[in-house]
Amino acid sequence: MRINESTLVAAPAETVWNYLADPENYLRFMSGITHWEVAGDRPNGLGARYRILLGVGAAEVGGLVEMVEWNEPFDIAWHSVTGVDNRGRFRIREERPGRTRIEYRLAYGVIGGGLAGLLTEVAAVYPMRQQMRRTLRQLKRQVEHEQRRLETERRRGARRTAVS
């Protein structure tokens, strides 16, 4: 099953990328996440690994994922290594100056799960989609807040330069 959600944020792609590239931020915006831990030596970048768990229904689902695409400032993609099979992507595209679309894609499934596997995939669509929407809402709020902070800093710096 593949779910795709997107949002438009009032920030350039660079700000979005910098926010998404920092693993410490994920616990702040990922909805339903119960565990996010860097697993390995690399905190981010291609090949970085994280142990992620997401509360879905009666279980915390997830496992070890590995970053398989790290294409600054356009794409971050991951695949599961252990745990429930899944792959995901944040696709970042600046539609016009200062306005960036973030697409959040998630595909999951259980190979060999039979009819129950199929039913589970369908039953999980609604809660997963709701979580992805909440994630994007929180991400938009956080990134736009970060952008306002950067702009304020820039204005303050410009004023200081003008006074001196």
Binding site: L53, E60, G83, A116, T120
Partner: protein
């Protein structure tokens, strides 16, 4: 003449030998019978049942150390259809991944069931013995035991909120021998999947079931689809009772009770901690079955 006498005897011996082998095979479950791929493929069905039928909730799995063997000690509920074990297995497997070995101990009769026995083996269940548990712990796997066993799982439904290990302390020696901490796992809701009336301990003794099959009980319940259900040997259809499970912090026996812990003191400590947590879970429930 020699052949006439000898041949039937050989056949009979072979038949008895074959039957014995089959029974032994059915009663034996090895650690390596666990099959992670089978578990992965079984997770969707367990998730569907746990989420929509039992509205299950499993709390504080993070209390289980991620990389060490531990002895998980649970209260047993639900008669022979141990719903909370299935819910816990799902939660454990999704939280730590099916790749992490995890074993449960079960009564020989459960392992010997024609279809369910095979499924239990593949999901990591081994027949209940000190030796099997020690082997699993030595191999680095968490092991789930239910000291209360058949006695506790068939307790009357109105005693759902009581921990009753019937004074069985073998799990303490097991943890000490293996040098692993005890992690209590408390669950509620399983005893509302049927109306359990009595353990039938006296009846089991009268029929010598304890000597013949290691059965201390001959439980009596009212359960689907049988109505009056004596023995629960064929299981029952569980009512959709809400299952809530809580994992308590690990208890390091040597650190808390010194190098030579007194089993009575440890038993008292573990059961009182579990009772306290179970009281909390019971207080959250407003209605039977619905939760």
């Amino acid at each position: 003449m020699y052949y006439r006498v000898g041949r039937p005897r050989g056949l009979a011996e072979r038949a008895v030998g074959y039957a014995r082998k089959r029974v032994e095979e059915r009663l034996t479950a090895r650690l390596e019978d666990r099959d992670p791929d089978y578990l992965r493929e079984a997770l969707p069905l367990l998730w569907l049942l746990s989420t929509f039928y039992f509205r299950a909730e499993v709390r504080d799995l993070g209390n289980i150390p991620p990389d060490k063997p531990v002895l998980l000690v649970g209260n047993h509920s639900g008669g022979n259809i141990i719903v909370d074990t299935f819910v816990f297995s799902l939660a454990f497997s999704t939280y730590f991944g099916v790749e992490r070995p995890f074993h449960q101990l079960a009564h020989n009769l459960a392992i010997a069931w024609p279809v369910a026995g095979g499924m239990l083996r593949k999901s990591g269940t081994v027949s209940a013995s000190h030796e099997h548990a020690e082997q699993a712990l030595e191999a680095g796997a968490p092991v789930l035991v239910y000291p209360g066993g058949d006695w506790e799982t068939h307790r009357p439904s109105w005693k759902s909120g009581e921990i009753d290990f019937a004074g069985r302390k073998g799990f303490i020696q097991l943890a000490l021998d293996a040098g692993v901490p005890i992690v209590p796992v408390v669950s509620i809701g399983g005893q509302e999947t049927a109306l359990f009336l009595s353990q039938g301990g006296g009846l089991a003794r009268a029929l010598r079931l304890d000597r013949l099959f290691r059965l201390k009980v001959l439980p009596i319940s009212i359960a689907l689809p049988w109505g009056l259900n004596v023995g629960d040997f064929a299981g029952h259809i569980p009512l959709p009772s809400k299952i809530t499970i809580e994992v308590l912090p690990p208890i390091d026996l040597e650190r808390e009770f010194g190098p030579d812990p007194d089993p009575d003191e440890v038993y008292e400590h573990v059961t009182s901690q579990m009772q306290e947590a179970l009281d909390g879970l019971a207080a959250e429930r407003r209605l039977p079955v619905i939760g």
